[in-house]
Assembly symmetry: C2
Amino acid sequence: MSDNEINIGLIGFGTIGAGVVEIFNKNQDIVNQKCEKQVNLKKVADLDITTDRGVKIDPEILTTDVNDILENDDIDIVIELMGGYEPARTFILKAFDNKKHVISANKALIAKHWEELISTADKNNVKFSFEASVGGGIPVLQTLNENLAANRIEAVYGIMNGTANYILTKMSEDGSQFADVLTEAQEKGYAEADPTFDIEGHDTAQKLIVLTKLGFGEYVEQSKFHVEGISNITPEDIEFAKNELNYAIKLLGIAKQSNGGLEIRVHPTFIPKSHLLASVDDVFNAIYIQGDFVGPVMLYGQGAGRMATASAVVGDCIDLILNKNKKISYGPNISQVEKIKKISEVSSKYYISLKALDRPGVLETITGILNKNGISIESIAQKTNSETQAVPIIIVSHETKEENMQQAIAKINDLTDVKEKIRLIRILEE
Amino acid sequence: MSDNEINIGLIGFGTIGAGVVEIFNKNQDIVNQKCEKQVNLKKVADLDITTDRGVKIDPEILTTDVNDILENDDIDIVIELMGGYEPARTFILKAFDNKKHVISANKALIAKHWEELISTADKNNVKFSFEASVGGGIPVLQTLNENLAANRIEAVYGIMNGTANYILTKMSEDGSQFADVLTEAQEKGYAEADPTFDIEGHDTAQKLIVLTKLGFGEYVEQSKFHVEGISNITPEDIEFAKNELNYAIKLLGIAKQSNGGLEIRVHPTFIPKSHLLASVDDVFNAIYIQGDFVGPVMLYGQGAGRMATASAVVGDCIDLILNKNKKISYGPNISQVEKIKKISEVSSKYYISLKALDRPGVLETITGILNKNGISIESIAQKTNSETQAVPIIIVSHETKEENMQQAIAKINDLTDVKEKIRLIRILEE
């Protein structure tokens, strides 16, 4: 980097890329003042450089040739905002090899190719910053990495996907069905045409991989942990839990140390209303971190979106410029994790709901199965009485091992009087 | 600093100082790994080195002579945790002059002697870090300074005093009187024997001064803004606002840009329950930041206490060690503030409550006065009817200028039928 001037190349002129351009348009003075340098957005590469993105941009800096950035000796910092695995991976590796620092919001790529990306950056003595990849504008990576550096991290968990949170919030407010809210969210632009990635928990899982590495020093690939989405959640369960149990429902990514092992999992979760996460609604995200000294810290904000994500990208950029000699740490150097627990080894409270014929002895049989599997019951509710139709039965368990619960569920589902298989939702304890 | 070893001197072996010692006892391995250096707590100075602080410490490192730290060439970083203005100020300035970096949690000192402290550190080319001074373990200063560096900050406000928040939470839950809850809080150790500093808003004001400098680049001394505590808050007002208006009460520090000026003020505030700050209870703190790109970000955690504050202090320490060439920025170099608004120029919604004789025409007179002062009423409630006793009247205004409200209040208080003067509580709008 020169002493008075820094040149940035941006790859990917999509939604967030346009947000970055807008920050440079509006807050160039702030950026320059902070950096005490002239910071130039020198080149913007995209295959499509003709569509209007709604932001002012000098056509001279647009290029369809990514090598105008990657092979340009004047460029100090590359911002990768194209998303996806390839060619993003190849471009970033090439940028590192050409001694350029890289900023990216590409959680999918980072979660999958962590080792290769970090080691290539290290080898070339350049930096890789990706605050925007988790929690959009929320400063969660820096908090984990720097502010809480004196702590042993005990847990990191939270709401990391705005689309899923929007859908669950609306289902909870209106009692609507999942499919209806999804359609509405798609119409409003809060959900993608193919929403799988968001609603089935993959996006949350990728963010959780990054948080787990930074919090515990352990890289866990996605195939190694339980990831469950929200598409099977019913308004009936939400309503019962809200009104009778005082719970809110959220899609959580959870990583926590417990009895000699790391739990890592993504699933819809009932949260007591008294927990601050229960009040995080709509497209907002929030992440809880528990450190051995700091106690609980929660960070809340917009987890996605053009402006918030671009804010984190340019924040990384200023940080890189100000701290060219700064050592970047990517979590504890030595893993703090003894073993990764399987989901069957995790303990939790459970909410289970099913429908069964209201015959004498049915409830007794069900509670008997739970009891035999070592599961004690906190509360049980049978909603209406009907001798001809199956009626809803809802059970909340005390803390129990997932393995025991799954064994009990298999047996209960096999009962002839059970007409609708069990839906299970884990409960976050405070 | 040497390449392999860093020596730290701690001045002040009180509550937080003992917390710092405990972090080094328990997490020395983490600190060393992060820093890739041996980090030694080399000396601890206090006038009292005999009282047991409940933490293990090598008696060899204890000293009653502060110059064993300040004049010790082996010490790289000084942590000042004695509190108060003097001799803390003199010690810190001497540490700077002796080319030592300083970490402090001393918000009173920092808020009062900002200019002198920062300029002395700069002159000596050393760093001054004070994350722990605002929000304890909450990473608010780094967030403002670094993560949100690409933003123009629009507002910073929040709950910054745990004692006051504990008292207001209990008053709200139990309907208790302020004085009773204060006594209980003192018994539990949540409030000092002399609680003035916390309950009258001075502590919040000092933190707000630091946030205002870092957020807006403007240093505002405490005598220049409105600071109002919670000792006049009544359970009746809290209860009415909670049940009838769906508001929670919090002591807020508020700094925000509005129409060409900066509002800066500390006062009890009604907050709509739908706002996340309304759910921040007990001794917890939370700070909202609004940036032009990032939107709202909220940071929540323990704002005080031995462990959380020590976590921030050692976090600063690791940051200093890792980033010895890092440029520390203390907010925007150029003030973003055109003028400081007087409280009379601020606009807000207001809750006012009074007691008046229920005579014909009284309400009409009161609403007439409000109207004449350009204040429009959102709601009005007269709680019980009695011809002999004064009855409570509660009015919520639409947004209006403080000056107009104060003029109206003076006139209403002068009415002969008004038997208990107006209590005014400002309302935070979303």
